[in-house]
Symmetry: C2
Subunit: 335 residues, 2 copies
DNA sequence: TAGCCAAGTTTTAACGATGTCGGGTTTAAG
DNA sequence: CTTAAACCCGACATCGTTAAAACTTGGCTA
């Protein structure tokens, strides 16, 4: 067994009692500068590191947030969407800035999440990030609006959940203006608009609203939500081609779908962006490597992380959610 | 404050003492079936969930592993390489299977990692995943081979660190055979072979060894390690073209580099795979979306996670590392 | 000089679990 | 019928910290 230095050891060396060490190190005002200096010196000499478990037991808080990543049924979130990695990185940065640790889970049934993290006091709050393509996972969080439960989610299939989301309508409008400026006359939306994915509906709404100003009513190809996002793009393009309706631009509900769209168009011999413009939503890295590189609407990842963390901290403090919309911007690439 | 049920409450309801509750729930043989049933019933009635912090303080172990993700200096690991997301997902699955929680960090100086996680008893062991392009971060782990420190890393710039790696030489040989079978006569290796990235050197070694059997000595384009992996591919192709040496196949040290290679070749008007075959290493998702889709050597991610976790558990138990090589396989796509 | 206040400490008591020890019951052996 | 060995379970100590209460000082007021 390895020898560990406790606050008691520090106290002995500094010639004070152990609680004084605690107060000195925690910056309590009720300790003289002289004593504090002695304690700090002793702590440094001995290489003292606080035992977080003792603090947590005593204080009843963990300074830890749990992040639960939900992929499609039977699939890890890593396979479902690389977007989540960016989001996770941003959440990690925001949590670290606030002094919080991050516990992540890619596994387990949602029913157990609270037992494992919240009830067992492993985390003070919980951030849920996942695909709406896993409705069973979300079912649990629906109606879990009890005040003592501190959680916030990204996206969310329902408006009444505690979500943080992109400025989807604004993003849709940006996409519309971009396509109009590129001289497109027949834009089409592809995405699971009618599904549980509220964000997609919002994206379409902004898109349609903006185009309406130019007297264009963009058709929307609703897709089969049981397919992967990418396959959705492929299938939608096939359906679109078969329908025979004219189109010269596609706004895909998300980047993975847009990549599927690019593939399907390429296979059909339709050149992008010459004959058809394609724009996605999310700003995933793979969009850089497609041919042509994917133009997209990208949320401000840093703010996304900040808002998720800030809002869950609000919940922990018993306060309501504050800002919940993440601004987006157009990233022009080649499509 | 929210009411929480403790083992003491359960004990009262079951009509036993609190330590008996502990024994009953932990499956101690020293408790009668009858008593155990009473305790279990009481626990269920009250919705008892154990307080992990108390257990951890008492037991001195946390059942938690820390994962530290290291990106390029000033960059989050999420930006550096999407490969890490797959690895993280696999580690999470393996840890969950062993009953371990996962604490992740994308931040902080390596000097603080042990203080934060190991010394403060927030984690029993540590898994370091990161790019060799951040030498300062690795410097700390060098020489940190003290037996009481339980850590394992992916990749690693030095052979004497506690690493887990892909079957790099085997992968190099597979790449070589693949290119030979495709009828290629002038294969080239692109990658920071001479850098601190040991894995790249191994990939080249296997590649060269296998080609040697056909009396081919593949040239290697060593690249500037200060560039991103992708830029390395771009620059290497430019250098290659400028040198005027003939080539009809490229084995890139990693997928991001391969994607850079594809881009540079495309810009130079060289068709893939007609004039030049390209093969990468890592199996990142973005390789699916390039044009053409990237052929690559992919490690078995599940095993990668298992081995990282297993080896760090070995370290925790004071045992040596066991299997450390992750098998790889060829993923044929279009390049 | 008694009385009081404030500052700085020590004392004491948790937080919620686990492990050791020992005694009381029951069962089996003598 | 006694006695020893299992077998259970309760009492108590403990992990390392923080918070509240009690207690010293010294300085200042009345």
């Amino acid at each position: 067994m390895v020898f560990r230095v406790t606050a008691f050891d520090v106290a002995q060396r500094a010639g004070v009692t152990q609680p004084t060490v605690s107060r000195a190190l925690n910056g309590s005002p009720k300790v003289s500068d002289e004593t504090r200096a002695k304690v700090l010196q002793a702590a440094q000499d001995l290489g003292y590191v606080i035992n977080q478990n003792a603090t947590r037991l005593r204080r009843g808080e963990t300074m830890t947030l749990a992040v639960v990543l939900i992929g499609r049924a039977g699939e890890s979130a890593t396979e479902t969407n690389p977007f989540y990695f960016s989001l996770l990185g941003s959440v990690a940065a925001a949590a670290a800035a606030k002094g919080y640790n991050l516990l992540v889970s890619f596994q387990g049934s949602p029913e157990n999440f609270f037992g494992q993290y919240d009830d067992a006091r492993q985390a003070d709050g919980m951030i849920v990030i996942g695909t709406t393509q896993n409705p069973e996972a979300w079912a649990y969080f629906r109606g879990l609006d009890r005040p003592e439960k501190a959680w916030v989610c990204w996206g969310a299939p329902d408006d009444d959940l505690r979500w943080v989301r992109s400025e989807n309508e604004g993003g849709g409008r940006i996409a519309a203006r971009y396509l109009l400026e590129a001289g497109r006359k027949h834009p089409v939306f592809i995405g699971a608009r009618a599904s549980q994915q509220r964000q997609f509906g919002e994206r379409y709404a902004g898109f349609a609203e903006e185009l309406q100003k130019s007297d264009i009513t963009p058709p929307a190809i609703d897709v089969d939500e049981s397919l992967s996002r990418e396959e959705q793009g492929v299938e939608a393009v096939r359906a679109l081609l078969q329908s025979g309706q004219p189109f010269d631009a596609i706004f895909a509900a998300c980047d993975l779908t847009a990549l599927g769209v690019l593939r399907a168009l390429s296979e059909a011999g339709i050149s992008v962006p010459e004959r058809v413009s394609v724009i996605g939503f999310d700003g995933i890295r793979a969009g850089n490597y497609s041919s042509p590189p994917l133009t997209t609407i990208e949320p401000d990842f840093e703010q996304a992380g900040d808002l998720l963390v800030q809002n869950v901290l609000n919940r922990i403090a018993g306060e309501p959610l504050t800002q919940r919309r993440v601004p987006v911007q157009l990233v022009k690439r080649g499509s």
